[in-house]
Symmetry: C2
Subunit: 199 residues, 2 copies
């Protein structure tokens, strides 16, 4: 299959490429790196990306920013960072991909453990990751031509414990290579509307 990996230079993205490349043709996409560039927070940029790449069988998104900070001080504008970036960025990809992917294609998005297991300073992450999962449940039943959509919800990555460790004390961090297997289940499998939890 021909598979588009958005966020391919990130920790998860690199592991996904490594997992999928032995049996699939991969097109890497990044905001500034990758074979094709796109800013997925702008749907016109997503459309241009799909037009440039041409027909494909699957798209994986492992990209998106969130705000981290105390609830007592957070502003609506800060919470909107996650909504417009990690949520709507992925949603934009799904909205365009539904018309662009080959029949039976798949869309795989990314949420995170904080959707259901909240952490200090993580209210934007809880809200946004839960929203991504809600979008996937809602979209899965309406997609046509056999196109599927799933979401991978990873625990904190072992590779990220240097920066995020203090917020995830007691969480059993997982290696990105293990998280990548969940994306492979989504891409190579047949399920739809699933939240693949890697925790």
């Amino acid at each position: 299959m021909k598979i588009i990996v958005i966020g391919a230079s990130g920790t998860v993205g690199r592991a996904v490429v490594e997992e999928l490349a032995p049996r699939h043709e991969i097109v890497t996409v990044g905001r500034s790196g990758g074979q094709v560039q796109a800013d997925i927070t702008k749907i016109d940029s997503v459309r241009a990306m799909f037009d440039k790449i041409g027909k494909a069988d699957a798209v994986v998104v492992a990209a998106g920013s969130l705000h981290f900070g105390p609830l007592a001080e957070v502003t609506p504008e800060q919470l909107n960072i996650g909504l417009q970036d990690k949520l709507m960025g992925q949603v934009n990809v799904a909205l365009v991909a539904q018309h662009h992917l080959n029949d039976g294609g798949s869309i795989t998005l990314t949420s995170g453990i904080v959707a259901e297991q909240p952490i200090r300073y993580g209210v934007d992450a809880s809200m946004v990751n839960a929203a991504v999962e809600g979008f996937v449940r809602g979209a899965a039943i309406e997609l046509q031509r056999g196109v599927r959509i799933n979401v991978v919800s990873p625990n904190v990555l072992q590779e990220s414990m240097g920066s995020y460790g203090p917020y995830f004390i007691g969480f059993e961090a997982v290696p990105a290579a293990r998280v990548a297997k969940a994306y492979a289940r989504s891409v190579d499998g047949l399920q739809t509307g699933q939240v693949y939890k890697v925790f």
Copy 2:
């Protein structure tokens, strides 16, 4: 207790007022009706509302708009209707209420069954309602001074079957009076971070 009910003229809001009024002092709030007016999609309007009402022990929000329409045609702008209205409207209330309510006060928001049980044309509802629940999980662990936050997730209302019935065929519609009991559990109880499902 002194309880602010936002969206008090809606079907759920009226039932909540009826449920709570026998044992609490109620302040009704609406966009145009109610004892106090506020547009909760604007945090300045929420601040003005709390300032006008003065100290209170609880706030209930039963207000918010969503977009309904087919996934194949939905735009990011349409999905943002729900994000900026039903989600951020309620979030704005919670962000201000955390500083304004008396110690031990409570915040009760509203999601809906479509967060976990998707329906045709309901992708915005699934996304937004799931996001409200995620916000509540994230906020509950950070609130200070004993302030609590919960969310009520109602099934489709018997009173709304005239307009929403065709989208909820097979759902066991519930009366608003039964939904109102869940708000009472949140306000008069002691739990926090809960999703009270009325379905």
